[in-house]
């Protein structure tokens, strides 16, 4: 059983990486979860997961003549399998996105839920690849006009590749009173349901500084509880892992970044 979700947002600063790891930790209570930093150009998941000094990362798997095995870049952390990506620009340039589908296919064969932390951009082939490959997207929004309009854009891009929206997360919410009216209206335009409304939280920033996912750093914070509720609303679909692996292998992948 496996389903691959791209955790996406059109805009930076929505707390996408925090959300990916929070959903991952919450889902890991019932599923075997693998989290991949698919934002190969601006990786930051490693900082959130205390993997700054990871010896092998996704970049090492994407270079030509890679001598690292996929398993070398998988780290058991916080009850999940975490595949960080390095931050070197040179490594990003040397990386061959063609190889991402094989890496992800390998990972998909051996997990229940695959979460791809996707780039906050749509301007390049490698940026759009995670939403091309995923089964469904979770779109991370903020109740602001730029975040909503960029979220709509991501949704349309993903749908163009047959990737439906599993649901939306409203993150970093400051206005408790108005948010219900906003989510109600936004529901008309986004697929799936509003999975959760996550209050703005100092704990998220502190967790990042401590190099821990929010749910590990402050499990009782209101934001952590809201993420857990959101994860429980995400209906992970059954599917044969081989199907997913095959799909990744056969996916059309660009020749160059």
């Amino acid at each position: 059983m496996v389903e691959a979700f791209a955790v996406a947002s059109g805009k930076g600063g929505t707390g996408k990486t925090t959300s990916t790891l929070a959903l991952g930790m919450a889902l890991a209570e019932d599923h075997d979860v693998t989290v991949v930093d698919a934002d190969t150009g601006m990786a930051n998941l490693l900082f959130h997961a205390g993997l700054d000094d990871a010896a092998v990362t996704l970049h090492d798997l994407l270079v030509e003549d890679a001598d690292a095995a996929v398993s070398d870049a998988v780290y058991e952390r916080f009850g999940m399998k975490v595949v960080p990506c390095g931050t070197s620009l040179a490594a990003f340039r040397a990386a061959d996105p063609e190889r991402l589908r094989d890496v992800v296919a390998d990972l998909a064969a051996d997990t229940d839920v695959l979460l791809l932390d996707s780039p906050a951009a749509l301007g390049s082939k490698s940026a759009v690849l995670p939403v091309v490959l995923a089964d469904r997207t979770v779109i991370v929004l903020q109740p602001t006009i730029p975040a909503l309009s960029d979220g709509l854009k991501v949704q349309e891009y993903a749908r163009s590749y047959g990737t439906e929206t599993a649901g939306t997360l409203f993150n970093r919410v400051r206005d408790d009173e108005g948010i219900e009216r906003v989510t109600e209206q936004a529901d008309r335009y986004f697929g799936g349901e509003t999975l959760g409304v996550i209050p703005e939280s100092d704990a998220a920033r502190e967790a990042r500084q401590a190099g821990e996912p929010l749910l590990a750093h402050a499990p009782d914070a209101p934001a952590s509880q809201a993420f857990r509720e959101a994860a429980s609303r995400l209906d992970v679909r059954d599917g044969a892992s081989e199907d997913v692996a095959d799909r990744f292998r056969s996916a059309v992948v660009p020749d160059e970044v």
Binding site: V128, S149, Y161, G178, I179, R181, V182
Partner: protein, 182 residues
């Protein structure tokens, strides 16, 4: 709304009131703009919209004719144009009292959204606004944005076209879902 008369910086007739908002933003103007729609110029009406600024970012909106403030004032003034626009500069202390009037407030990007043609100006204005101004009072603007179905559909349609164009550019057309292909 009571504000002292400021120093006139410029006065002109424009098709897009957004150009005056952009000027105020670029100059980090503290002061106000008076917008007078063309039809009132012709008919001799007294519909005037006033938008005040702090460091280039809109704070209040008021319509003299309808005596309404905030988003409603912008709706009263919005029209096909052209507009006669005057920009005035004021000392910040001269606006302090007026800026306490909550009922006239607008979210930073709303005047650009309602009166201007340029979406980038909305974004630029919001980026220039202090964090405190991007908080709760934004909800109204977000609701209005989501209520505008035609605008939302336009964003989606543009994204769909862009996605297809780029898929071609990136050699990803085989991965496109063709269920809704024409």
């Amino acid at each position: 709304m009571k504000i002292p008369r400021g120093d006139l910086l410029r006065s002109r007739v424009v098709d897009d009131p957004g150009t005056a908002l952009a000027t105020a933003l670029d100059r980090r103007l503290t002061g106000y703009a008076v917008f007078e729609p063309q039809d009132t110029v012709l008919l001799g009406d007294e519909t005037r919209g006033v938008v005040t600024f702090e460091d280039g970012v809109p704070v209040l909106a008021y319509c003299t004719d309808t005596d309404r403030g905030g988003a409603e004032a912008l709706a009263d003034v919005a029209g096909p144009g052209p507009y006669s626009v005057e920009l005035y500069e004021l000392d910040p202390s001269a606006l302090a009292e007026a800026h306490e009037a909550d009922d006239l407030r607008v979210s930073p990007g709303l005047p650009a959204e309602r009166l201007g043609d340029d979406r980038d100006l909305v974004t630029r204005t919001r980026e220039a606004a202090p964090d405190a101004r991007l908080g709760n009072d934004d909800t109204d603007a977000v609701e209005e944005f989501l209520a505008d179905e035609a605008q939302i559909e336009a964003i989606r349609e543009q994204a769909r076209e862009e996605a297809r164009d780029r898929a071609e550019e990136w050699g990803l057309t085989d991965a496109l879902d063709d269920r809704d292909a024409v």
